[in-house]
């Protein structure tokens, strides 16, 4: 019996878990991903010279702090089966896919990853990930594809590998449930005129962040060169009815302007054009503009980007409206970063139906059911950035504590 069950171990889930653990409650986190931590695990720190408050480290460090805590239990690669809402307790069936590595035995020495012949079959846990155990991807692993290889199992000093592991079903009892399923980044290949997936040098902002996080810099995927001129296009998939969502995703301005800043601070010879509709950062806007004002190699300008086309080899032509005379202009760039928004995860709807929660037309959960002990936190309610989502998780956890009667 746990005090609180958290569905979704993203930013909001971690915020909630941290508050609950710090006030002496036991917590179980259920997540479909191999690691608890959510999108923040893949993002890059955007403060090179000084902290720009992108808040990526906030959930990561919180997860890292509670990794060794005893009150937390993580069910990764797991889905929610059936749910029963009782008067005092909530019981949830959890189906966990096999991980093939015993999380109790593994000491995360990394020897298995060093011997693995297939790239990507064994993934090292990122900083702050729970559990601190590599993830074995059965779709790439040679053992599951051809049935011969067992190099990792032989190398493992603690015999943590078990290829015979089967799907596990467990019934979890909890006094309250927090739904924190979060959002999914929008796939920009649904918007054909930006050429994502067709031109190799058109990246989504998530691709760019992953590249910066793993390699420390941006390189053009087509030829491995450092880009000289980059365009960052805002509102891709947000504020549109074509291939995206109608609402504003709220966090894209915040992170994209920081990506631009981090690129320029690291490589002053790179020029960045930042094309936006409305700048909706909520920290003082002047901070971004003040920083950009003295620099020649960043252009922050209002104007909707219409189309991306490849001209000669590798160069990308971006057509956009020019503010001031309502004409159309073309610019040439080495790389285009599409600042994608997010939409609520499809799982949200399924889980909301199981817990009898109402869902609005976009798929956001519109209300929680506090009397029955079902709470909703984070960006499955409405679009939120990392800081807000983390705060919302913590605030929800505090409301849960009130219900549990823990705080007098």
């Amino acid at each position: 019996m746990k005090d609180v069950l958290i569905i979704g171990g993203g930013t909001a889930g971690i915020g909630a878990a941290e508050t609950l653990l710090s006030l002496g409650k036991s917590v179980a986190i259920v997540d479909t991903a191999p690691f608890v931590g959510g999108v923040a695990l893949e993002l890059s720190c955007k403060g090179d010279v000084e902290c720009t408050r992108c808040h990526v480290c906030m959930p990561r460090d919180a997860a890292f702090r509670m990794r060794s805590s005893e009150g937390i239990e993580a069910y990764t690669l797991s889905e929610i089966g059936s749910a029963t809402l009782g008067t005092k307790n909530i019981s949830l069936e959890v189906r966990s896919s096999p991980r093939f590595i015993d999380t109790k035995k593994c000491i995360a020495c990394g020897k298995c990853i060093a011997v693995c012949p297939v790239k990507g079959a064994l993934v090292a846990p990122p900083h702050g990930a729970i559990p601190n155990v590599p993830y074995l991807n059965p779709e790439l692993c040679r053992h599951f594809q051809s049935g011969e290889c067992d190099l990792c199992a032989k190398e493992c000093p603690t015999n943590a590998f078990d290829f015979q592991e089967k799907e596990e079903r467990s019934l979890l009892l909890a006094r309250a449930v927090i739904v924190a399923t979060g959002m999914d980044p929008i796939d920009p290949s649904g918007i054909p005129h930006y050429g994502y997936g067709y031109y190799p040098n058109v990246l989504s902002s998530l691709d760019a962040e992953r590249m910066i996080a793993s390699h420390g810099e941006l390189r053009r995927p087509s030829d491995g060169q450092r880009p000289g001129k980059i365009a960052i296009i805002q509102c891709v998939g947000s504020r549109t009815t074509k291939g995206g969502v109608e609402y504003c995703s709220k966090f894209c301005c915040k992170y994209a302007i920081r990506i631009a800043r981090s690129i320029i601070e690291r490589f002053p010879e790179t020029a960045v054009d930042f094309l936006y509709m409305d700048l909706r950062t909520f920290e003082p806007r002047s901070e971004a503009l003040e920083w950009a004002a003295g620099k020649k190699n960043i252009g922050i300008s209002q104007g909707v980007a219409g189309m991306v086309q490849e001209s000669e080899k590798g160069k990308l032509k971006v057509r956009r409206t020019v503010p001031g005379d309502a004409s159309i202009e073309e610019g040439e760039y080495d790389m285009v970063i599409l600042s994608v928004g997010a939409r609520p995860r499809p799982e949200s709807k399924v889980i909301a139906a199981k817990l009898a929660l109402p869902v609005d037309s976009f798929g956001f959960i519109s209300r929680d059911d506090r009397k029955k002990g079902v709470f909703v936190a984070g960006s499955c309610k409405s679009p939120m950035d990392i800081e807000e989502s983390f705060a919302d998780g913590k605030a929800t956890a505090f409301a849960v504590l009130e219900r549990l009667g823990a705080v007098k």
């Binding site: 003082p284 001031g324 807000e388 705080v407």
Partner: protein, 518 residues
């Protein structure tokens, strides 16, 4: 104090790549160091069996220890120490980190021994430090700010059994909750003391008063932006909150304009941000009610973030016009006609917008400069207590026990500041439940003979622990110092040293590194 070091060296045969011979090599290399008094070799220290064995072993006259293993300190957990070892003089060396090219690269015994000797060189000169716990002497939390959020915060804290002092600058009626003590019409002067025992001085009706509190929460409030009043007598200014009374009065006007800025003295940035959702709603209802022929929202950016986008669309459908202007040419009111002149961003030309009534922009109220300067490092914080440095946690300022939330930080949407408030209240509850303030043992010390009273450390210290004493020498308040070393780095006369990281220690470590390389 013997100053000799006990080395606990774990073989970690499961994880390490050293065979028997190279391990012997490693031990013999380490033995060359005179600072190491005794070496305990074990098979494993990560399991309970190894830990038990360690506890019963003798220290051999040593008073400090190095624990070297193929594990990080975090995964080792708590290690029991042999008798006679000071727990503050223990260092962990993670030997698995010493392979520069990843787990496949195997570092030599010489390199590993060098790492242990470096650590030993520093540790041999260390002094024991002890953290002190100081109980809170006050049980109150002071909530400062008169917004709705401040009252909510005070109520939430009072509900959880924490007596709260709500300090408000305007006149207010007493709240019903017995745990809330209201101090209205008060302006804050300053803050002294240490976390858990702050003394907050304020002025109320001409009297200078003082109150005690364990923690303070700065909430902030919104106010009308500091704008130039219109010189045109045909244009009226109305605050957003009072628009409704005005609209129901039966008056009909030609044009009404909502402005996010009117040549305000502050930057354009945060003006009207807190009220965007309210602004969109009232613009829409004004348009629907037919109160004015033209309803226009003039803004630098339409900040309808998140699901507010839908209200924006609804407002636009209801007939509200949105005009974006250029940063360089801000909108101004015409001198004779009731018209606002705006340089439209899309058209690129100046257009006139009819407006008899102008809804004034709203912003957050800045704090008294003297108050912020006493709280935080001047220059690093502006008057809305926004730090330029990294944030420690949600709602936390670098000063322990001082929490910053909502409009106190910067202008934000109201629905954004309520989760932040909830999160911060939970942090305050955790802070109050702890019941004691930890005064660090590893603090900065000032050599008074060298100090030239230049005030650099006082200006630099992020924890406000440095101050000038009566003899015009700097001194460090030990209870506040966190041992970050900022003052050591900036002191021009090199008068400051950290108690547990002296120049002597650093120099000896450098020498040990050089020896290991050569």
């Amino acid at each position: 104090m013997s100053g000799k070091i006990l080395l606990i060296l774990s073989r970690c045969s499961a994880c390490s790549w050293l065979d028997k011979n190279s391990f012997k090599d490693l031990v013999s290399q380490i033995r060359l160091d005179k600072r190491i008094g005794k070496i305990i070799e074990t098979d494993k220290i990560c399991d309970s069996k190894g830990k038990k064995k360690l506890k019963s072993s003798a220290s051999g006259g040593c008073d400090r220890a190095i624990i070297a293993s193929w594990c990080s300190q975090e995964s080792l957990g708590k290690i029991p120490l042999p008798k006679g070892i000071d727990p503050s003089l223990v260092e962990f060396v993670d030997l698995s980190l010493l392979s520069p090219k990843g787990p496949k690269e195997r570092s030599s015994p010489e390199l590993l021994a060098g790492a242990v000797r470096e650590s030993a060189a520093r540790l041999a000169l260390s002094r024991p430090v002890k953290d002190r716990r100081i109980r809170y002497s006050s049980k109150f939390v002071a909530v400062i700010g008169s917004s709705d959020a401040a009252i909510r915060a005070a109520r939430a804290l009072a509900q959880h059994g924490i007596p709260t002092r709500l300090i408000i600058s305007q006149k207010a009626s007493k709240p019903k909750d017995g745990n809330i003590e209201l101090i209205d019409e008060a302006t804050i002067n300053g803050l002294t003391g240490i976390p858990g025992n702050f003394r907050l001085s304020y002025r109320r009706r001409g009297e200078e008063l003082e109150t005690d509190c364990a923690a303070i929460l700065l909430v902030g409030e919104r106010c009308m932006a500091d704008v130039r009043p219109p010189t045109n007598p045909r244009v009226r200014f109305v605050p957003l909150e009072r628009l409704e009374d005005f609209a129901t009065s039966g008056l009909r006007v030609k044009g009404i304009a909502f402005l996010d800025d009117l040549g305000s003295l502050a930057s354009v940035s945060d003006v009207s941000v807190p009220l965007w959702h309210l602004l969109l709603e009232s613009a829409k209802s004004t348009a629907v009610a037919g109160y004015a022929e033209n309803v226009t929202v003039i803004a630098r950016d339409v900040k309808a973030a998140g699901l507010l986008e839908l209200s924006w669309k609804e407002a636009a459908e209801a007939g509200v016009k949105f005009v974006r202007y250029d940063d360089k040419t801000r909108p101004r009111i015409d001198k004779s006609e009731p018209i606002i002149l705006v340089k439209d961003l899309v058209l690129g030309e100046t257009i006139g917008i009819p407006a008899d009534v102008v809804v004034a922009p709203v912003t957050t109220r800045p704090w008294e400069p003297a108050f912020v300067e006493r709280l935080f490092v001047p220059g690093d914080w502006d008057l809305r207590v926004r730090s330029r440095g990294p944030q420690r946690g949600l709602g936390q300022s670098p000063c322990d026990g001082v929490f910053v939330v909502g409009y106190a930080g910067f202008a934000k949407l109201t629905d954004q500041s309520y989760p932040e408030l909830g999160a911060t209240v939970s942090e305050i509850v955790a802070f109050m439940r702890r019941g004691y303030h930890i005064a660090r043992g590893a603090i900065a010390e000032i050599d008074e003979d060298k100090c030239s009273a230049c005030n650099t450390c006082v200006r630099t210290c992020p924890y406000r622990a440095a101050r000038m004493n009566d003899n015009w020498k700097a001194e460090i308040v030990a209870e506040k110092c966190a041992g970050c070393g900022s003052c050591v780095a900036v002191c021009p006369s090199r008068a400051i040293e950290l108690k547990n990281c002296t120049r002597e220690q650093i120099e000896s470590q450098v020498i040990a590194t050089q020896e290991a390389i050569s």
